[in-house]
Symmetry: C2
Subunit: 424 residues, 2 copies
């Protein structure tokens, strides 16, 4: 069944953007003044601010506080429309995207469908070590963490109680480190006086990292600082530790087992299926290889951006899968399409402007790599707070997140400690 | 397996309270200074402020904003402990409650497990017309309402589009009326400019009430006022309309079908299974018949309160299933137990002090029945706002709910418009 954007500007080229993350939203907004009809498709109705998702998983924020309805964001952009649908394939010959029994035609296509967890071929681990990419992931992990304390309170077997109070993060990148800090503060502060039989302060938190240090994309001095900060929060960091197996008893590293009921996967991600839809060449993580203009080799009107694509920076190394990369790529593609429709002949290659890297480890602790300037401690933490409030979309969410943070900062409590009943 | 409260006060009588709603929480807090060991059991970890649950279902509030962790509330009450568990039966002879393979002994038992939806024998209707009692109920209804607009935007068949934009509330009590007002404001204000193909203002909202008027527990003048307010918001109220069937096409009243994709059950509730566990005598809605001291006839150390029990007021009519009744009953039972342990011989019967009834119909519209004083309009609305903020537990939630209301009031937008992806 055919489906095409509204007829007002019936003769303008159709740009189909798949994914309302940082990449897709920036393409769409960048096309606001272009003579195009934009359709932005996502399977949820909101833009999710993923850098704060771990705070939903650790009971500080509510899901709606880091999610903004895409329709609200684009309310005033008359050349754009939003569709809630799940794209399942691309028919390149027909220039159509497939969404169930619907087909969405396009002149330009931008795929910005993000990434998903990747267990390096051990997909069975997912059951024991969930990853963190969506709101349901986050609320499931929140429930798992909070329930572990509840079950420990009921548990009479000391060994099982210890396993219930052991939290293992597999992967020492920013998500693993930020989550370890947040779980530590939850156990040592927020919950510390709430139980009668267990002492939540006795909870152990372990970060398992295969590489030689955590925060591997940061300069080594900042990694060391982060490891010291984590140690002060009572978090153990195991580096050079290759996970061999994850099962109900915990995480196996060789013959050694870290017995833990709660294991969270913060290691590998792989691109979503978009490259497969295109039959495009990919790297090992399933990211489509794109040209310097982020378009598919041989198909200049199909772009792949964000975590779904792989492209090299000026140093020849692939760009990281971060929000700034996706945002800059989104704006870049919008510019390419706009200029082309205005008659420009050649495309200037995409160039990533690295403004730096931030990770927070807990209350007033963070590391910031701003190129020549490297910060750690409270100043880096304030920078982290400022940047995250600044990039959060919507006045409403900014106010609420600031209040939740102020609340957590002043009282040490958490605003979103929910364990829900199972549905019958 | 035996399980008993901490040994600090090992010789004090054990009071087991089942349910952390208004009733159970007030019993527990009322026993703070009594020489007892209290165990409060609930299958969730939070006290839910049910009167605002409909605002979660209509995308104004987030779940955590009306839920407070029970452990936080009772953190400083040293004679109380909290257990997250689901009670499945009571062994009256052994004086134990059954929770899976655990047994919780008691000297006094207070059952305050609330109510659930009741479809008057038509349990099959539940699938098409979900009710609103828990947070998962509310988020499911929110998803249903928001998805209806999204699906209408994609729909090309005019009849199906009309059914997608028709919202039917079965039951014209406070929940039905409050929800109808909220859905109307969602459609006519919050979403009005967000779509390109449909006009959300064309949405229809119908309240179906079997009795002669909506808000049947209010004085007739206030019912009429509420019906007028609803009409001004574009809500149709059908009174004297008995529902014969609810199926995928909509709500059938005799041969007439109200075609609607979204039907919400705001009519009958029945007590939870607690009366059955006791083998107690019940009324038609499954509520245990209790004596004037709210204890079970013949078993003075077992109390049943709130929506789980039925007891008559001074006028001989059964007390309504509202928060004030449950709260007063909770405090009363705590007093009875405390005084008995201090040596009091006789129990003074429970007496409900009716402070009035409030229902809001939308922005600056409400009705208030305060006995001799009856209010409608902005003044009643301010009273409603004040009372709901006042009784909400926790400074954190009060601040956040006030901000969400101010936001919704000033911008007409909604703070919690989330449609989540289905879990794979």
């Amino acid at each position: 069944m055919g489906y095409s954007p509204p007829g007002v500007m019936g003769s303008h080229p159709r740009v189909l953007v798949v994914g309302a993350g940082f990449g897709g939203l920036n393409v769409t907004r960048g096309l606001a003044r272009a003579a195009v009809r934009v359709t932005l498709v996502d399977r949820t109705n909101h833009h999710l601010f993923q850098p704060l998702l771990y705070q939903v998983a650790t009971a500080t924020l509510s899901p709606a506080q880091i999610a903004t309805p895409v329709r609200s964001v684009l309310r005033r952009q008359k050349n754009a429309e939003v569709l809630l649908a799940e794209i399942t394939g691309i028919d390149r010959a027909a220039r159509e995207a497939v969404a169930g029994d619907r087909r969405l035609g396009f002149d330009y296509l931008v795929l910005a469908t993000g990434a998903q967890h990747f267990y390096f071929g051990h997909e069975g681990w997912a059951e024991h070590a969930p990853g963190l990419k969506t709101i349901p992931d986050a609320t499931q992990i929140r429930q798992k963490i909070l329930s572990a304390f509840e079950r420990a309170e009921m548990e009479t077997d000391p060994a099982r109680r210890e396993a219930l109070l052991h939290f293992v993060l597999v992967g020492g990148g920013p998500t693993g480190v930020e989550m370890a800090g947040a779980i530590s503060e939850l156990a040592h502060r927020a919950l510390s006086r709430d139980f009668r039989r267990i002492n939540p302060r006795s909870a152990r938190i372990t970060v398992v990292e295969a590489g030689p240090r955590c925060l591997g994309t940061f300069p080594e001095t900042l990694s060391r600082r982060a490891e010291r900060d984590l140690a002060e929060l009572g978090v153990s960091v195991m580096t050079g530790a290759k996970v061999d197996r994850i099962d109900p008893s915990g995480v196996w590293i060789g013959e050694r087992c870290l017995r833990a009921e709660t294991v969270i996967w913060t290691a590998g991600v792989a691109a979503s299926g978009a490259a497969r839809w295109l039959g495009a060449e990919t790297d090992r993580a399933g990211r489509a290889r794109v040209g310097p203009d982020l378009s598919l080799p041989g198909d200049p009107r199909i772009f792949v951006i964000g975590d779904t694509a792989t492209v090299s920076g000026i140093d020849g190394r692939p760009l990281p899968g971060t929000a700034p990369v996706a945002m800059q790529q989104g704006r870049y593609v919008a510019g390419v399409i706009s200029r082309e429709l205005e008659g420009a002949a050649a495309r200037v290659p995409f160039r990533y402007r690295d403004k730096g890297n931030l990770a927070t480890i807990g209350r007033r602790r963070a590391v910031a790599d701003l190129g020549r300037v490297r910060l750690a401690g409270p100043l880096a933490w304030y920078a982290w707070v400022f940047v995250h409030i600044f990039y959060l979309i919507g006045f409403h969410n900014r106010i609420l997140v600031m209040i939740e943070w102020a609340w957590a900062y002043l009282t040490f409590h958490r605003g979103a400690r929910l364990i829900l009943p199972r549905r019958e």
